[in-house]
Symmetry: C2
Subunit: 284 residues, 2 copies
Amino acid sequence: MKDITILRTAEQVGNLVNRWRQAGMRIGFVPTMGALHQGHLSLVSQALGEADRIIVSIFVNPTQFGQGEDLESYPNTFDEDLMKLEEAGAHCVFFPSVAEIYPDGFSTSVHVSGLTETLCGKYRPEHFDGVATVCAVLFGIVRPDIAVFGRKDAQQLAVIRRMVDDLRLGVLVLAGEIIREPDGLAMSSRNSYLSSEQRKQAAVVCIGLSRAAELVSEGERDAVRICDAVREVIAEAPLATIQYLELVDPDTMKPVEKLNTPGLLAVAVYFGQTRLIDNVILKP
Amino acid sequence: MKDITILRTAEQVGNLVNRWRQAGMRIGFVPTMGALHQGHLSLVSQALGEADRIIVSIFVNPTQFGQGEDLESYPNTFDEDLMKLEEAGAHCVFFPSVAEIYPDGFSTSVHVSGLTETLCGKYRPEHFDGVATVCAVLFGIVRPDIAVFGRKDAQQLAVIRRMVDDLRLGVLVLAGEIIREPDGLAMSSRNSYLSSEQRKQAAVVCIGLSRAAELVSEGERDAVRICDAVREVIAEAPLATIQYLELVDPDTMKPVEKLNTPGLLAVAVYFGQTRLIDNVILKP
C-alpha cells in the first residue's frame, strides 16, 4: 500500500486533482461501490489508456437502493479492493462517508426521464435518480476529463451519458466491455450471493444471450422470436426466474420490435433472492 | 455595439471562456431572461467587482413557466438590453435558442426538495425545477467562477445555492440587493405589464414590507402580527390581491413563528393578471 492515495473528503480530492491538472495531467475516473472484480479492474486499465491519473471511488450509495434491496448486505472487501486497485495502477481511491457525499441539508436530485422507464428502471423506480445524482456529485468533486462505466449496466451507462450531455458536465464517458467468468457469467459483485448450485445454473443467462446473437447472425430480426428463444434457454435452469427480458434501442432504451439497427437485448434474472443483469448488443 | 460579444452557441461560449481562463481571468456570470432593468445591471456591476470577464445570458427559459403563465408575452427588449449591457461593462452576451439549451432528446431535470415547497414553489409547482435545471445547464456551459443572482427572487437564490453546494458545481453564488423605483416598487421586467393605476398602487407592497421592518425594530417578533400589519397596508390598494405573505427562514424557506434570527418576509401580490414578488430580511 505504498503508491495509492486514499482520500476521504471532497476537499482532499479537489486539492489533489487541482495539482494534477496544473501539472497538465488528464484525470480519469472510475466510480464503483467496491467489492471489486475483474470487470472493475478492466475499467481502470481502460482509463489508464486515456488519462494520466486515475481516481477510483468506492461508495455504496444508499440512494440507489430501494426498500428491501441489498444495501445492508452489499459485499465489503475494502482491503482487497485497495490491493487490486494498486496493482491495476490506480493512483487514488476516494472512499467518502455517506455524510461527505450527502451532508446535512442535502436536497438536490437529478432525474433523467424517458430512458429510465424501461428495464431496470421499471422495477427499481428510484434507482436511476440515485445513480444520476451520486454521479453528478462525484463528477462535481472529481472533475474528471474521462469516466469509465461498464457495459453490464447498460441502462446506467445510457443514463449517465444523457445526463453528462444535457448538463454539459464536460466529462467524456467511456464504456468498458463486459468481463465474464470462464462459463460466461458476467462478473458482478452480487455473484458472491449465489449458492454453488445457483452459481452453476447462472451460466444460462449468458448462454441465452449468445443464442440470441446466433439467431440474429442466421437472419432472425423479430424481437418476440429472439426473446422466446432466450427464455427457452434460461428456462433450462430451474432456479432462474426472469424479471425482464427485452430488446431495446441502446440509446433511448425504447422497446424495439424488429432489429433493423443494433439493439440491446437486456435481461434481469433472479436466482433465489439474488438479482443478476446481463445484456448483449445484437447487430443485424 | 463595438465591445460586447454576442454568442449564440454553447460551443462558442466554451471556447471564449477557455481563452479567458487560460489568460488567468476570473469569469463572472449573470443569468437573465432579458427585458433588463437597473436591477439586472446592478448584478453586472457587482460581478465586475469580483471577476475579470462578465458573461450575461439572455434566455427566456420555457421550462420555468407554468400553464397559463406569461411565457408568450414575456417582454423582449433585446436591442436595448445589448446597449445597457455594453454600457454596464459586460463582455459577452450569451443569447441561445431554446434548441441550443434543450436539444432533441434532452431528458434531465434537477430538483431541489424542501425549500421549493413554500412561497412561490407552492403556487408554481414546476417553476424551480425549470430554474434549477436551466441554471445547471448554463453553469455547465459557462463554467463561471462566480454567478450573481438578485435578492428579489429570494427563493430562487436559495434553490441555486443549495444546488451548487449539493452538486459541487464550484460556482461562488453572490446575491445582489433589490433595486427599487423611487416610490419603493422593486424593479421587475413584469412591472411593464402594469396599467398606470396598478403601477401607482403597486408601491404598497414595499410600504407594507417597510412597515414590517419598522414593527420589528420596535420589538415585534410574532410572525402572525407582523404579517397582519403588512396585509393591512397592502389592503389599502384596492387593486392588490395577495397570493402569499409569509415569514420564513432565509436558507430553508421554512415558516417561522417567532423572529429569533433573521427571517425572510416574502410576498407575492397580483395586480390584475400581473404577479409581483418582493421581500425583506427582518433582523430581530
